[in-house]
Symmetry: C2
Subunit: 447 residues, 2 copies
């Protein structure tokens, strides 16, 4: 059995804690009762999967910008397939299935479950997934979807309308799918027994690769990935589910929450204060997140969400916090904080002069044993001042050890790489006429 | 005529915009209708003095920590006398008067007006000051105080109780002074015609130097300053005003506000948003100040004061904002932003490792023509990366020009100085076992 975990989404609804590189599913703010410390949504779903007894390989389908976050949070225990460009769920699932088929040599009768990484759910959710997979191996249907008991007539979700009658072993035949109806239609659908479409699908690998081959038919995974743009930009629901005549559904009764907004998220948090926060005790119903290195003081705050990160600060009345999306898109900027495969960085200062020259100052930490690739920039100088740890640096093919107290200047055009022996922290000052992540040329290197 | 402007106070009540180096009177947030741009309280009172027609030299009595702010905001047009240590208003006024007498050779019959730098007032206030000074030169009294029409029985102010009867040329004889009574007594005093003590006093220079000599009697100003601790730690009101039998008062009728709390300050501000602030337009009665380089988004905020600076962030219900003082004292830290005589700096990052080693990163700007003294540190290395402008640097007696794109490392024990030709901006990374402002040894230098 193969599980494809969809990790996508942009980082606007929980701005400024989330950004393009750190979508909501990577925020380490949920309580992990089984361990000490906090976990993110993606870590929670992985932990739940592992402890559910489901035996499956896990492949995360994600974007290039989120790949490092996935590695940093899930380690080597998962495979990762990245889309060359953002399209929609149908192409993303095709790509992951082709990876399983052509790269991992999975058989056409291998059972695949596709699931989102962000709903906040309970153990029963994973029992339902197991039932769905079993349904496919028993040939109960060609495609099985998870149906969520609706709690209100939402226009945000898709609906699954069951066929009347014959439910066998928990598999209910599907009459049809209805994507995001208006509220009135939603109410009508619910009264007729429709459930929310939970975005969890089970099918056999061959089922999907056959559909994928209608758009891109090629012998190797690399070729399919190179021709990714030939897949239509469409959701799995429209392209596959709605067209399927032999679809089934398994009901899920337990908790199912999209923690994608400040309001829904704060309902599930273990405490009301995260980071360096001081309150006077007279506040009510206020959640405060502070990721900055300076204190945040709250006096008498009521019904607020307050969040501060290197990307920005929000102070929002809870009922208005959904509107952050509108504004966060305007505020879109380079991510000021990122969790990378090699460690973390945060932007601590950014300044642009009237003539267009820019300077960007970062604090970076490389995890022990990790390294930054051998690279060269065309438009910027960098200055690294090492303030903690020990490591090794390569500058224009010259290798030497490096430690706290040393400063290295890296002019434009100079090749450089860095490896940490111990946790290695340094301040980087970038300066130049064009400071973009894309100004990078990489070279092969064996440490 | 001599004016002594008292500029003291700590920076806790408007935290985080104010700090030890930048008291409330230096915040550039008031509207200056006579010019473009914003002005601070101390700039406002100076502008009002200049345009009132009062012909006087001005001496600012302040602390060492505020001296650079005074120079940065008022320039060379004022004299500055700094207390060697913080005591109270009586010693501070004595020191300033001794400066006028012994350093500036003012005569004993020179008229002196002492005034605070922070009340928010109107033109009439300065007419009253003129009347007070004239009253001294006419020998109407030995000490003349400004009386403010009380608006409520406050326990925060001192009261001036007038003698019944004979007011000559606006000078009312004073019966007695009562410092900070309880609210009930305050109400009683007001019903009997008492006024608030505005902290503005007029007297002849000889009057005060005679009182000062009772504590410190020395031939030179330097000697008096060196013996500053021999002055009692007491207010001018207790030590001088309350003991004076021949005191007079002039009434002031106009606006007189202490803008020392968030509530009183925000009432007088020209706009509700300062800095990079975005709002959704649904907020009410909210003032937002953002001095950080990142955006601050407000959605549906109501009755709040929000302020963010390199020192910290406050989100406070307006009615609770007076409590900031209690917390700001706990949060006391090194100032993260300062306006110095040579320019400005802000701390952009601060990190302490488990072994006690620290790193502090600053963005600094030297104003054109300004310089940083020739200095040496015992416990810290510094790395300067120049990102804008041109200047000259001296490293261990070696002088050379410096410009954008250059990096200079300054190990512990290395002497260094810097001068700006044009506005010169650089990133400084300090690192070492002990990062305190006191780790500095200065050397003489002629540019």
């Amino acid at each position: 059995m193969q599980i494809i975990l969809l990790s996508g989404g942009s980082g606007t609804r929980l701005w400024p804690l989330s950004n393009d590189a750190r979508s909501k599913q990577f925020l380490r703010i949920l309580d992990n009762k089984e361990a000490t410390g906090r976990e993110s949504m993606v870590q929670r779903v992985m932990r739940q999967l592992r402890s559910s007894g489901i035996e499956a390989d896990i492949t995360v389908a994600t974007s290039d910008s989120q790949k490092d976050s996935v590695i940093a949070q899930l380690g080597d225990s998962v495979d990762i397939v990245t889309e060359p460009s953002r399209r929609d769920t149908f192409p993303a699932i095709c790509l992951a299935c082709e990876y399983l088929s052509k790269q991992r040599n999975c058989k056409p009768d291998e059972i695949v479950v596709v699931m989102p990484c962000d709903p906040y759910t309970e153990t029963e959710y994973f029992h339902v997934i197991k039932r769905m997979a079993d349904g496919i191996s028993e040939n109960a249907a060609d495609l099985i979807v998870m149906g969520i008991e609706p709690t209100y007539p939402s226009a945000k979700y898709g609906y699954v309308v069951p066929e009347n009658g014959n439910c066998v072993d928990g598999i209910i035949p599907v009459h049809n799918f209805t994507e995001k109806p208006d509220v009135q239609t939603a109410g009508h659908l619910i009264s007729e027994g429709a459930l929310w479409n939970g975005g969890v699908f089970a099918f056999s690998l061959g089922y999907l690769t056959e559909i994928a081959a209608k758009y891109v038919d090629a012998p190797t995974f690399d070729e399919i990935r190179n021709r990714y743009k030939e897949f239509p930009k469409i959701s799995f629901d429209y392209e596959v589910a709605e067209k399927e005549k032999n679809a089934g559904m398994v009901r899920y009764h337990g908790k199912w929450k999209d923690l994608g907004t400040w309001n829904t998220l704060t309902d599930e948090l273990p405490t009301t204060e995260f980071g360096n926060v001081i309150t006077d005790g007279s506040g009510e119903n206020t959640h405060v997140f502070n990721e900055l290195g300076i204190p945040l003081l709250c006096l008498g705050t009521k019904d607020l969400v307050i969040a501060a990160s290197p990307d920005g600060i929000i102070v929002s009345e809870k009922s208005k916090s959904e509107n952050v999306k509108t504004y966060a898109q305007q505020l879109k900027n380079r991510p000021m904080y990122e969790e990378r495969r090699w460690g973390t960085y945060k932007v601590i200062d950014s300044i642009t002069f009237p003539d267009g020259f820019c300077a960007l100052t970062k604090q970076l930490t490389l995890n022990p044993g990790c390294s930054i690739s051998y690279q060269r920039h065309e438009y910027r100088d960098e200055v690294w001042t090492f303030i903690d740890g020990e490591g090794e640096i390569i500058i224009d093919d010259q290798r030497r050890s490096i430690q706290r107290g040393e400063t290295v200047t890296i002019p434009k055009g100079c090749k450089h790489a860095l490896k940490a022996y111990t946790s290695l922290t340094f301040i980087e000052v970038q300066s130049g006429s064009n400071l973009v992540e894309e100004d990078i040329e990489r070279f092969p290197l064996d440490w």
